[in-house]
Symmetry: none
Amino acid sequence: MLKEERHNYILHQINLHNKILSSSLSEQIQVSEDTIRRDLQELAQEGKIVKVHGGALSKSFNPVAGAADTVYALEEKRIIANKALQFIKDGMFILTTGGTTITELARILPKDLQATFITVSLSAATEFTNHPNIEVIILGDKLSRNSKITVGAETILKIQQIKADLCFIGINAIDILGGLMDNDWDVVQVKRAMVNSSKKVIALSVSEKVNTFEPLKICEAGEIDILVTELEPESEKLQPYKSKGIQIF
Amino acid sequence: MLKEERHNYILHQINLHNKILSSSLSEQIQVSEDTIRRDLQELAQEGKIVKVHGGALSKSFNPVAGAADTVYALEEKRIIANKALQFIKDGMFILTTGGTTITELARILPKDLQATFITVSLSAATEFTNHPNIEVIILGDKLSRNSKITVGAETILKIQQIKADLCFIGINAIDILGGLMDNDWDVVQVKRAMVNSSKKVIALSVSEKVNTFEPLKICEAGEIDILVTELEPESEKLQPYKSKGIQIF
DNA sequence: TAGATTACCGCAAAAAACCGCAGAAACAAC
DNA sequence: GTTGTTTCTGCGGTTTTTTGCGGTAATCTA
């Protein structure tokens, strides 16, 4: 088999499987691993694949490095935040949890919006203060080192004393049967309290988290009123939720 | 599974769920926990995640506090913060106001310090969370847009329920006759309450602000116990305060 | 403070990469 | 077909990576 042929074959395999092992290629093409290594090196040099110890990865599969502290799936979260805007009206009292989606929502709020946001998240609070007409209430208590939100009995108590018009809740995992789930005990308590203290609950989630699980349950899927993802509302993945009576946006 | 493949998988999991346990990853990928730990270490070194005991956290969840925009008179504030360190002992309950000097102090605290900090400042709170042994309490209430600290009746009430060992108070203006002063009504209320709720009051101030005036009075100069500036304690400017019984550092 | 979990360190085995080198194959020109 | 040149390939030996494991130190949790 000629070198060119091999290269094409290798490229084909990598694009098909996103990864390939030198050893497996060596066996398939019946050449020594050294040869494969040299092939992979060349292809990598041409920028067609990414060579790694033991084989190679497809370029598209390998996320570009350097995207260090950018928010994961920022585009999706922007879309979600924009969809969420429509539910906010002047004069509302709105509860929010933490998370990057919520923070993104806080960032893009219209400047002339007059509303009161009640939050447990430091970053969301900071973002809210950039909006001149928004009143920000922080629910104070012990600060959770993991999630950078305030947690504890005091927070829960304060939430219980509120009946907010809206609650934006960032979702970590949601499933038709499992409901809303998360992985931090303190955070779960806060989110559950928020769900109970709001007339309308709006869950924000990237579609990737839909139909996934986490160990701790916040509430039933049916307890949320609206689910916002970056997908089209007609998307196949969301239909089960729609038929459960949840509005999809 | 190739190492880079694992890394991609781990990154994906962390970005999806904000946090991940080494043990769970080890089980999912079927490699030893040691390997996972090494993976997490590498990813952390590349700045893609934040490694913690038992697993790792998403970076976007943990805003890098150190990335502050330029602070006025940072060197002076560093000196002050370093001097202030000596007053902090293990086990103390410490009240703090906001301001860049306080935030600087929060940043340089020794890693092994065990103490409880009660604060109204978002930036100080964020900084405190980087210290593993420090408990952070945020006094929640309305968030003041100007000063990024919480203000209001609820905050005052909570402060009054505390008797802290120490209070670090960032000074806006101080004068022998005028006492401690500030220019924001809400902030003044908070600072005054803190002074009254602490066994020992330590005022931190760049020398520039010594002998200046602001419209609103917090308390008499004599009510503070210790004054820390970037100057030598023997400095001419500070002698009047010393003779008033205030310790100078 | 004790007991359990997690982290760290060094080691050793296995796998992979690297380095020349020499023979084989491909190519071009005569 | 031959010949010289260039490129390619496999192989032995060495070096580097990667990984798991045992023992110990650090850390967390109740």
